[in-house]
Subunit: 301 residues, 2 copies
């Protein structure tokens, strides 16, 4: 609870420090003390979830990910789920932005000839017109149409990249953030594919409260355009890193404020305990990951 | 679009004027001009949806409503749906309040020996602890634990009344509103059971934007307690009134601000087009109602 309050009462722009998280060992899912061998540098501060060797990595690294394979770590929520070529997403019809978007990054998705110049941001007709964001909503807002699943993660096919341009994969994002620190975080995700067999990334908006002059906590966020598209106060990105074999899964979870962030600040400074994101977003990640870590669940997927 | 902008840019406390809505005739669902015979008083301003005589009113007025019968007009959303003795609800794990609660009022639910004194507000263990509202969250907030499905609507059995005391049927509500104008609206719902075969009521919170000094629109709401339970800016109540036979269904939809409201203001002044609630809440009511109005759908339910 302490951690959550710390996160939630942060002023916008405050840098979130990473707190020590527990180390999970599977099977069993019991919490154990940090393993000294693992407790070095960054990774000592984030959860580690080894998975059994039945994990079918080869299935996931060949060809486009199917929705089922992509979702092996479970659904953070089950609301308005859409499956695309390059990602699976849940849409929030009240904010007109995604609640979360999950993608898998690997050599097959990063390398290819898909060209961003052939992509245009487009409305998602699958959303009722009352709840649909449009390009016109963003126009004149001074905000970028910020990708949740990044376009550059999906060069493997033009369709995969095209799909990242649906406005249901987009939220209003500060241009400086989008083009600097956030872009660096996206690059980090891609670079991790060199060290991990698979990199799963879950991205979404947050609406965090902060204390105002009366001493009370308020959530306050702008809405833009005729359809009142919500401007998140923060964004999260959760990385599920598969080492392959019996070496398990590592988690890293970041929260960045939706405003200019000096890109000289190391991204490690934005690491937060995943629990704080689960509390703030109304989503659950860890129970799914733990379940997926058990032999039967992994084998079944 | 005009209507929505009118609603959304209202200052808190402004009285929402009812706008003329179209009249629907089923089967076929075509919009038609207002029928002069119907265009008298209040009802001339709200949608009218006649339903075929296959409507099985007797099934609904006998005994406790089953979830299936209660939901004959469809689910406004499919997120985190819970079925209780007296209502069906959808929980919003991010705000820690319901997104909507639907109940049916009739002689069987209003009359009985259930006693409010035997009821206590209680946490809902079916919600993950990260997203669950607790009694402690409300303590010292200065806000009431405001029922969505009202306790007094469910005197038919103690269990039915007890279930309205789950905090998943509750949102932080201004005490003056709760005990005056909102209470009057709840009484109006009960009184309508004398004129209508069945009264369905859907209630929920709204978080409406308003213009701030910089000319931009912002959603701003307080959160209370350690679990950051959201304090809605407004509440909606949608009444689906079944006349029985071939006389169809009437809709009335109200929005009240979550602040003191002079109870001398007639409740008719808080009528709004249902579309404005659908846009603001991210929910859909009318398509479901129209579908339920077709012979097959009604007979099937």
């Amino acid at each position: 609870m302490r951690v959550w309050r710390t996160l939630a009462t942060l002023s916008l722009g405050a840098v979130l420090g990473a707190s020590a998280s527990c180390l999970w060992r599977l099977p069993g899912g019991e919490q154990q003390e940090e393993d000294e061998e693992e407790a070095v540098g960054l990774l000592a501060r984030v959860p580690l979830i080894p998975v059994p060797s039945v994990h079918a990595a080869s299935e996931l690294t060949l060809g486009r990910p199917s929705g089922a394979a992509l979702m092996k770590y479970g659904f953070p929520s089950l609301s308005n789920v859409h499956t695309r070529e390059s990602y699976v997403s849940s849409y929030d019809p009240r904010t007109r932005t995604p609640a979360w978007v999950i993608e898998r990054l690997g050599g097959d998705t990063l390398l290819g000839t898909a060209d961003r110049k052939r992509c245009d941001f487009k409305e998602d007709d699958s959303v009722h017109v009352f709840h649909r964001a449009t390009n016109a909503d963003y126009k004149g807002s001074g905000l970028d149409r910020g990708h949740m699943a990044a376009a550059a993660n999906h060069k493997g096919s033009q369709k995969a990249m095209d799909d990242t341009f649906y406005l249901t994969n987009v939220a209003p994002q500060n241009p400086h953030l989008n083009q600097n620190a956030w872009n660096n975080l996206e690059k980090l995700c891609r670079s991790l594919t060199k060290r991990y067999a698979n990199v799963y990334v879950c991205t979404g908006p947050l609406y965090l409260p902060r204390q105002e002059a009366d001493g009370k906590l308020y959530v306050r966020y702008q809405v833009v355009g005729g359809n009142h598209v919500a401007v998140p106060t923060h964004f999260f990105k959760i990385l599920i890193l598969e080492r392959g074999g019996q070496d398990g899964v590592e988690l890293r979870s970041y929260v960045l404020p939706n405003q200019p962030v000096d890109d000289k600040i190391p991204l490690e400074r934005f690491l937060v305990p995943i629990e704080s994101i689960e509390r703030a977003s109304g989503l659950l990640f860890v129970p799914n990951i733990v379940r997926a870590g058990s032999g039967a669940a992994i084998a079944g997927k």
